[in-house]
Symmetry: C2
Subunit: 347 residues, 2 copies
Amino acid sequence: MATIGDVAKLAGVSRSTASYALSGKRAISDEVRDRVYAAVRQLGYTPNAGARALATSQTMVIGLLAQFLPDEFAPAMLQYILGVSDSARELGYDILLVTEEDGTRALKRITDSRAVDGVVLLNVAEDDERLPILREAAQPGALVGLPADCAGVDVFDLDFEEAGRMMVEHLVRLGHRELVLVSQPEHVVQRGGAYVWRLQNAALEAAALRGVVLHTYFGASRQPEIGRQLTQLLDAHPTATGLLLNNEAAAAALPSVLSGRGLRAPEDLSVVGRYSDEFARTFSLPYSSIESAPDRLGRMAVRTLVDRIERRAGGPHVVRFISPDFAERHSTAPPRAAGSPAPRRDH
Amino acid sequence: MATIGDVAKLAGVSRSTASYALSGKRAISDEVRDRVYAAVRQLGYTPNAGARALATSQTMVIGLLAQFLPDEFAPAMLQYILGVSDSARELGYDILLVTEEDGTRALKRITDSRAVDGVVLLNVAEDDERLPILREAAQPGALVGLPADCAGVDVFDLDFEEAGRMMVEHLVRLGHRELVLVSQPEHVVQRGGAYVWRLQNAALEAAALRGVVLHTYFGASRQPEIGRQLTQLLDAHPTATGLLLNNEAAAAALPSVLSGRGLRAPEDLSVVGRYSDEFARTFSLPYSSIESAPDRLGRMAVRTLVDRIERRAGGPHVVRFISPDFAERHSTAPPRAAGSPAPRRDH
DNA sequence: CTGAAAGCGCTTACAG
DNA sequence: CTGAAAGCGCTTACAG
């Protein structure tokens, strides 16, 4: 493989001149520049990434820490990954994908070894073990997900409180008086998925304010458990007319649960989920939803991270919540007949 | 950040001795080694990845090229990625994830710049444009998917011919005489998804051999098109008693299509898919399937690639097909009544 | 068993 | 506008 020395020799200039001609970091005569470019083309020269990283202390690589926990719904994560990967590339960065179980060790490894210029953490927990490591690291970090302590990092998350309020208010406005909310599994919360609480508490508050009943549950994140649970919930609350889902697995399972009971949305039951549009398409979900916008969050995290890497922004750290959009898929309507039981399967 | 020079100084040895103590590449007295280790611990020393890559020409990074084509089903790809990522890590390698649209350019970039020691290509097409680039590259490559020309690369794929035969024979043994096969979209084939042909042709051959009718179709890879198409196919072939799916989107859509028609598998229709067990769980699919084993394929590709990188295997390139396993989920049974039409929705 | 030195392929002050 | 030199942080022949 050709080195910059080969390019310089062929162009008849010094290595520094060749380097400057390529970087444009100092004025070069047109004639010399042309000769250098010609040599580059002729030799098929590409700078050696390791050598450049060593010389500049810039790898042009961003670390992406994505944990695929057994109790989370993997396809939901994919969208964040693609959002991060695509926007990193647009900004000239490659992605070092780390899916190791032991996220702390992985983070320490890639930051200590200077393999990356910065890091994006997905799936951030309330009291995330990776954060102390990140704060000690020389590289900046951006999180998707809100931890208890945001010091020293840039944080991006959906406004789950607003999402909870929106879900409830939307159905209240249509005339619903009794709702059921199915959240993520309880161990997600225990592990530190504070967003589950944020949405649920805001939903409860909104319900109390409007004087409607809201039953809240934690649902499994796996089939077939979640399907059975949904069935039980519908049995347990025959007078509820609205179903709110903050649980991707539940959303994915709902169509067959409903059709198994002979129910349709919104005729028999109004349904609002919280997931991305892409997720809805993939799983063919016909329910209106609070758009969780993983791609937007991923993009924002990367942009801010790159700004920080490139010292354009050395300023204070940000904590940004994006306002949820409501994706209308016509799965909500006024309740069939206030107070009367929802239709049941006819056997 | 501490360098090996700092370690050497603190341990009171030369840099080379410190380096050898850490690599174990030459004999070191116990006493010196202990001093070096102590210094490493005290300083929290981690070797600089770029410097090491420059000195050794080894990055300990594997490039993973995953294209997320709009007409393919993204969640199916995730499993390959995780298989590759996890097994690479076990072998000491990190993953540079490249999801760029322009796979050729990306591949050229990461190989020419020596950012990776080797490359895994996912989603390989019959006449894949990335292959000429890969053959010119200095690094070895492993493919998941079978191209027309396997020269210079290691290739791993499911034995789709065997898969096609298995699907047909399984249903024939149960007494079915008329089957429908839904494959991936036609443009996947046109782009070079030869595996679609391989499965379909083998299925047709097996059907001819057994004297049973096999209707073959290309299905969409998106909702809601694929759902509509499945409905049309079932309408068009009322006497068919078995449905074969070589199309993940079709498999994901089938449960609601069937329940919409009041049909159940295997009572009313026998169904066999071709997808991974993980996929079946995620989508809660109750159909027996030919296991596509993405994790196994990813692992095999990585192991072979790493062997080649580390010169343990400089030998001839391999083309390996893995035999499909049949994952029994009890969605097949003898046809209800040979020759009589399948039950239809009662309205 | 250990050390001094060269070299990997870049970039970037320093000089002119 | 250009060149010679130092340096980034490692590893590894070469010497002893």
